[in-house]
C-alpha cells in the first residue's frame, strides 16, 4: 500500500499528482474537467498518502491544491447516484466512510497541511481543506456548502467546523448554501490567510524550501505573502447582527419568520436572497442540517463524523426521504432546477421524522463509522478554528 513515497508519480491520468521537494510534499487534485470533484480513487489515494507521510520522518509539510480553476468542487456525487441507481447504496456508503476517515485524519494530523484554495471550494473540497491547519484563500476563492439545495446536508465534518464559526454564521452558511469569497473566508475563520494569487508561486517556493513542521514557522512564512483583503459592501460578514438575531433561533421555522420580520422592517436584497435560498432548499435537509450543526457545536470532530455517516446512510438508503435523488435529478441530471421535495413544507416534518436520521441504520450488515485511533485529539484539532 505505502510503496508510493519514494518515486515521484507524475502520470497525466493520475487523479492525484505528487510533487516532492526537500521536506514538503505537494498533492495536486487533478480532475480539472470535473472541477477536481473527489472520486473514490482520489479519496483512497489521498488517505494512503496522508497516512504514509505522517510516519515518514523525511516529510514535514503537506501542501494541497487543485489543478485548474477549482480547488475541489465536492465529492463525486454523480458516481454515488450511479451506485444507488444500480441498487447498491452500500458502495456509496463505502465511499463516504472513506471520505470521512480522510477528513478525520486531516483534522487530527500531526504535521501541518497547507491548502491553497485558489478557486472553487465546495462540499467535499471544504472537508479536504478546512480540517487542516492552514487554509490559504485568494481573490479567486469561492466557498460554499450547497448540500441543502441538493436534498443532502453539510457533511464531511461540516457540523464540526461550521458550528465553530463566529456566533451563528455557521447556521447561515450551512442552511442557505451562501457563497463566500476569499475575504469572507478569512473574516469568518474558514481561511487562516489571504494571499493574492499572483504571489502563490512565490509562497509555494518558500514552502518547498522549508524544513520544519513547526506551525509557528509555517504560519510566519505564509504571513510574508499575505495581505488584508477588503470585505465587499454587501458582505454577509458585515451582517453578523442580523444573522445572529435570525439564525440563533430554535427551529428552521423560527429562523424563517425572524428573517421575514427583518425583511418587513427594511427592504434588503440580501435578506430576500437569503429567504429565497431557504425556501428553495429541501425542507427535510434544512431541518436535519440545523439539528446536525447544533449538536456538532457541543461535540468533537470524531463524533460529528460518526453522526454524519449515520445520516448519509439514511439519505442513500432512501427509506426516510427521496429528496437526495430528486435533488440530483433536478440539479445534476435533468438540470431543470425545479426539484419536487417530499414532504414539501417544513411544517409537515415532525421532530420524530428528524430524529430517525440520527438513529442507527437498521440493516444487518450496517455498522457505525469506525474511526482510526489518533493521538492528536482533541484540543489540537479544535485549535484550528
Amino acid at each position: 500500500m505505502a510503496s508510493c513515497t519514494s518515486a515521484s508519480v507524475k502520470a497525466q491520468d493520475d487523479q492525484v499528482l505528487v510533487e516532492e521537494t526537500l521536506s514538503a510534499r505537494t498533492l495536486i487534485l487533478n480532475r480539472p474537467r470535473q472541477l477536481n470533484a473527489l472520486s473514490n480513487q482520489m479519496v483512497s489515494r489521498l488517505l494512503e498518502l496522508f497516512i504514509a507521510y505522517e510516519e515518514d520522518p523525511n516529510v514535514k509539510l503537506l501542501v494541497l491544491k487543485g489543478n485548474g480553476r477549482a480547488f475541489c468542487a465536492g465529492g463525486d456525487v454523480s458516481a454515488v447516484v450511479r451506485y444507488i441507481r444500480e441498487g447498491d447504496w452500500k458502495l456509496g456508503a463505502k465511499f463516504f466512510a472513506k471520505e470521512y476517515i480522510l477528513n478525520y485524519v486531516m483534522a487530527t494530523y500531526a504535521k501541518p497541511q497547507v491548502s491553497i484554495l485558489n478557486g472553487i471550494v465546495m462540499g467535499g473540497g471544504a472537508g479536504a481543506s478546512i480540517h487542516g491547519r492552514f487554509r490559504v484563500a485568494t481573490e479567486n476563492s469561492v466557498f460554499a456548502m450547497p448540500e441543502t439545495a441538493l436534498g443532502l446536508f453539510p457533511d464531511v465534518g461540516a457540523s464540526y467546523f461550521l458550528s465553530r464559526l463566529p456566533r451563528f454564521f455557521g447556521e447561515y452558511v450551512g442552511l442557505t448554501g451562501a457563497k463566500l469569497d476569499g475575504a469572507e473566508m478569512l473574516e469568518s475563520g474558514l481561511a487562516t490567510h489571504f494571499v493574492p494569487s499572483a504571489k502563490l508561486s512565490l509562497l509555494e517556493e518558500a514552502l518547498h524550501k522549508e524544513d520544519s513542521s513547526d506551525p509557528v514557522t509555517i504560519s510566519s512564512i505564509i504571513d510574508k505573502y499575505s495581505q488584508q483583503p477588503y470585505l465587499k459592501e454587501q458582505s454577509a460578514c458585515l451582517r453578523l447582527d442580523v444573522i445572529d438575531r435570525c439564525f440563533s433561533r430554535r427551529t428552521v421555522e423560527e429562523i424563517l419568520s425572524a428573517l421575514e420580520r427583518e425583511a418587513m422592517n427594511k427592504a434588503d436584497a440580501w435578506i430576500t436572497t437569503t429567504i429565497q435560498s431557504l425556501k428553495k432548499a429541501s425542507p427535510t435537509s434544512l431541518k436535519i442540517s440545523l439539528r446536525l450543526i447544533r449538536e456538532g457545536r457541543l461535540q468533537g470532530v470524531g463524533q460529528c463524523l460518526v453522526r454524519e455517516y449515520r445520516m448519509v446512510c439514511h439519505v442513500m438508503q432512501g427509506k426516510l426521504s427521496k429528496d437526495f435523488f430528486e435533488g440530483c435529478r433536478a440539479i445534476l441530471l435533468d438540470k431543470d432546477k425545479n426539484p419536487k421535495w417530499e414532504p414539501s413544507k417544513l411544517e409537515l416534518i415532525s421532530n420524530n421524522m428528524v430524529e430517525q436520521y440520527f438513529l442507527k441504520v437498521v440493516d444487518e450488515e450496517w455498522e457505525d463509522l469506525k474511526l482510526p485511533a489518533r493521538f492528536h485529539l482533541p484540543g489540537y484539532a479544535a485549535a484550528k478554528l
Binding site: R245, R249, R291, R297, L298, P378, G379
Partner: protein, 645 residues
C-alpha cells in the same frame, strides 16, 4: 553525593527556566520540548463505551434534549457569556473576578440576550405540560452555566411570576403575566424578614385596609420586620410581592400576599419605600439581594392576590377557607416549584463536579508501583474509586429522583398535594446536602487544581451553599417530613388500615428476616435493598424513595448493557446508603458481620463501575465548554504558549 545532586538540580532548573525565557519573538510561542515529559492523553483513547451514552442521557435528562442543546449552543456562541480559549478549547463561565456590581450587570445582560432570542417565550403565558417542561429544561441548562443567572430567573419567573399566577386571579394574570415574560417589568418576592425566615407565619410586616380610599397600607413596624435577602431588590426589580400580616378592623387574618411597585420605569426607588443592599456574599454575587422597608405604602385594593381570600371595597374579609391553618397551607402550596427546581439543579451541579473530577482522574497520574515504573492513573487507585464512584452512583439515583419529583409536580392534583409537599421537602434537603458533599469531595480529588475558579468544582461550593437553607432550611424541612410520616403512622394505626401512599406500602408486610450470611446475590437484589432503607425516619424515607425512583427508571430499560450498568449503580447506591447510615447497626437490622459484608461489596462494585466511569459522566450531556480546562487537556491549557503575554 548530596552536593552533586543539588548541582544537578540547579542545572536542571536553569535549563527549564531558560526554556521559559523567549530569546526571540517566535520562541515565546513555540512549544517547549516535551519528549521526556508527561503528555496529555485524552481518556477517550483508552476508556471504552459499553453502552449508548445518548440513550443514557435521555434517561437522565428525561425531556427536551434538543432544546437543551440549543440553549447550550446559544450561550457558547455569545460574547456575553464570556468565552475564554484555553489550550485550544473554548470555555464559557462568568468572570467571577469582576466586582459584585459588574457581575450583577452581566447577569442582566445575559438575560437580555436570552430574552431577545425567545428563550423565555411561554414561561408564564404558555399553556400545558409541554411549555412547562421546556421551561424547567431551560432553567436547568442556564444553571449549569451560572447559579446566579438561574436564581435571578427563578425569582422573576417562578417566585414573582408564580405568585401572580397561583395566588392571583384573572385580573392579575391579564395585567402582569405578559409584561413579566417580556421583562417590561422586573419582579421580586419579599417574604423573608430579618427576624423570620423559615417561620413565615411569624413575619411582622403589617398591612391594614383603608375603606375610605379603597387602599391597603403596608408598614414595616420594627427593624426585625425589614424584608431581607430579596433577590432583585437591590438594583433591578420594579415590582415586588409583599408578604404581610393582614389586619382587618383590628383582627389579624394571617399572612397574605400583595403586589407593590418599588421602582419607577427609570429605576428610581418609589416614595414610601427604602431599599438597602445585602452586600457582598460568599457566592451568588450576580444576584442583587436587597432589604426593603415600607413606610405607609399605599396600594390599590386590587393588588391583594386574592385566590384564597379577598377584602371587599367596604372592608369585609371574605374567604372560602375558614380555618387559618388550612388557608395558610393552601397559600404556600404553589411554592413547591422552588423546592423542585432547587433539588434538580443541585444534581446538575454535582454532575459538573463529577464529570470534571472523574475526567481529571482518568488523565492524571501519581506515584509508581515499581521503581521507575509508570505512574498510576488516579482512578485506578481503589481509594480514589471509593471516594468518587459511590457519589457518582448517588448522583445517578438522585437524577432519577429529580425526574420523579418533576413528574409529580407537573401532574399535581389537590389530592396529591400532601405527597408532593413531603417528597419535595425530603428531596430538596437530601439532594442539596448531597451536592455540597460531592462538591467538596470532587474539589479535593482535583487537588490544587480544584482551587482554581476556572475549574469550577471548588467555586461551585460557594455558589450552591445557599441551597441548603433557602426555600426552607434543610433541617426544618426534614423535621416536617418526619412529622408528616409519624402523623400518617398514627392515623393508620387508629383506622387499622394498611398504609397507602407516600411509598410506605412496604410497611404493611412483616419485617423481613435478614440472613446472617449476606452473599453478593442477596446484597444486589432489589428486594433486599428495598426493605433495608426504610428506617430512621426523614432520611430513611428519602433514601428509600430515591431508590424506588431508581428501580422504576431501571425497569423502563430493556435488557442489555445499559440496564446492566444501571443495576450496578443501583446496588452501589443502596449499599452505600446502608454503609453510611449507622441506624442499621444501631437498631440491629444489620449485624456487624452483615455490615462488613456490605462494605466489602461496595468496594467490589467500585471496581466493576470503574470501566464505565468515563461513559457514565459523558452521559451527563454537559458540553465541554461548560466544564473547566482541568477536565480536558490540562497540560496544553497550562503551557507557556497559552499564557496571555
Amino acid at each position: 553525593m548530596a552536593s552533586q545532586y543539588s548541582s544537578e538540580r540547579a542545572w536542571f532548573r536553569t535549563r527549564i527556566l531558560t526554556n521559559h525565557f523567549p530569546s526571540s519573538p517566535s520562541l515565546c510561542v513555540s512549544p517547549l520540548e516535551s519528549n521526556a515529559c508527561l503528555s496529555y492523553s485524552p481518556p477517550e483513547l483508552h476508556e471504552s463505551y459499553d453502552f449508548d451514552t445518548n440513550e443514557m442521557r435521555k434517561l437522565l435528562d428525561m425531556h427536551n434534549i434538543e432544546d437543551r442543546d440549543w440553549l447550550f449552543g446559544l450561550m457558547r456562541q455569545s460574547k456575553v457569556f464570556n468565552p475564554q480559549e484555553k489550550g485550544g478549547r473554548v470555555y464559557v463561565a462568568p468572570d467571577y473576578n469582576q466586582s459584585m456590581e459588574q457581575q450583577r450587570e452581566m447577569t442582566m445582560r445575559r438575560i437580555a440576550y436570552l430574552l431577545e432570542r425567545g428563550v423565555f417565550n411561554g414561561w408564564l403565558t404558555g399553556k400545558g405540560l409541554e411549555s412547562e417542561m421546556k421551561k424547567f429544561a431551560f432553567l436547568e441548562v442556564v444553571g449549569i452555566f451560572d447559579h446566579s443567572l438561574s436564581v435571578k430567573l427563578g425569582v422573576h419567573f417562578f417566585l414573582w411570576g408564580g405568585a401572580i399566577k397561583f395566588f392571583g386571579t384573572e385580573r392579575h394574570h391579564d395585567k402582569w403575566l405578559r409584561d413579566t415574560e417580556t421583562y417590561a417589568i422586573k419582579g421580586c418576592f419579599a417574604m423573608s424578614e430579618l427576624g423570620h425566615g423559615s417561620n413565615v407565619r411569624g413575619i411582622e410586616t403589617l398591612t391594614v385596609y383603608d375603606s375610605k380610599t379603597g387602599e391597603f397600607v403596608i408598614n414595616t413596624p420594627c427593624e426585625s420586620a425589614q424584608k431581607y435577602w430579596i433577590g432583585g431588590a437591590a438594583n433591578h426589580a420594579t415590582h415586588t410581592i409583599v408578604f404581610s400580616q393582614l389586619n382587618i378592623n383590628g383582627s389579624n387574618q394571617g399572612v397574605h400576599a400583595f403586589i407593590a411597585q418599588i421602582r419607577d420605569a427609570d429605576g428610581n426607588i418609589c416614595p414610601n419605600i427604602r431599599i438597602a443592599d445585602c452586600g457582598h456574599k460568599i457566592g451568588l454575587n450576580g444576584v442583587d439581594n436587597g432589604r426593603i422597608w415600607f413606610n405607609n405604602l399605599r396600594i390599590p385594593r386590587e393588588n391583594l392576590l386574592n385566590s384564597v381570600a379577598d377584602v371587599s371595597s367596604d372592608g369585609k374579609y371574605l374567604s372560602a377557607i375558614k380555618d387559618p391553618d388550612q388557608r395558610f397551607a393552601a397559600f404556600l402550596a404553589p411554592l413547591t416549584s422552588g423546592r423542585v427546581t432547587i433539588a434538580v439543579s443541585a444534581i446538575y451541579s454535582s454532575k459538573i463536579s463529577l464529570a470534571t473530577a472523574i475526567r481529571y482522574s482518568l488523565t492524571r497520574r501519581a506515584f509508581s508501583i515499581t521503581p521507575n515504573g509508570p505512574e498510576v492513573l488516579l482512578l485506578d487507585y481503589p481509594s480514589h474509586q471509593r471516594r468518587l464512584l459511590p457519589l457518582l452512583a448517588k448522583t445517578y439515583a438522585m437524577s432519577f429522583a429529580g425526574n420523579y419529583l418533576k413528574m409529580i409536580y407537573w401532574k399535581r392534583t389537590p389530592e396529591s398535594n400532601k405527597t408532593l409537599h413531603v417528597v419535595s421537602s425530603a428531596f430538596k434537603a437530601t439532594l442539596t446536602w448531597h451536592n455540597m458533599r460531592t462538591l467538596q469531595e470532587c474539589r479535593e480529588a482535583c487537588g490544587g487544581q480544584g482551587l482554581k475558579t476556572e475549574n469550577r468544582v471548588g467555586h461551585l461550593k460557594s455558589e450552591y451553599d445557599v441551597q441548603t437553607t433557602f426555600e426552607g432550611d434543610n433541617n426544618v424541612l426534614m423535621q416536617q417530613v418526619s412529622k408528616a410520616l409519624l402523623a400518617e403512622y398514627v392515623a393508620t394505626q387508629k383506622k387499622k388500615k394498611p398504609f397507602k401512599g407516600l411509598g410506605l406500602e412496604h410497611m404493611n408486610e412483616p419485617c423481613p428476616i435478614i440472613p446472617s450470611q449476606l452473599t453478593s446475590t442477596v446484597l444486589r437484589s432489589t428486594q433486599f435493598q428495598g426493605y433495608q432503607l426504610a428506617e430512621d425516619l426523614g432520611r430513611a424515607f428519602s433514601d428509600r424513595a430515591i431508590l424506588q425512583t431508581f428501580m422504576e427508571a431501571e425497569a423502563t430499560v430493556s435488557v442489555g448493557p445499559l440496564k446492566n450498568v444501571l443495576s450496578l449503580l443501583r446496588s452501589m447506591y443502596a449499599l452505600t446508603c446502608m454503609e453510611e447510615d449507622a441506624a442499621f447497626l444501631r437498631y440491629g437490622y444489620l449485624s456487624t458481620e452483615n455490615a462488613a459484608a456490605v462494605r466489602k461489596e461496595v468496594t467490589k462494585l467500585c471496581s466493576e463501575v470503574r470501566p464505565h466511569a468515563l461513559a457514565l459522566v459523558s452521559s451527563f450531556g454537559i458540553p465541554d465548554a461548560f466544564l473547566g480546562p482541568i477536565a480536558y487537556n490540562w497540560i496544553d491549557a497550562n503551557s507557556w504558549s497559552s499564557v496571555k503575554h
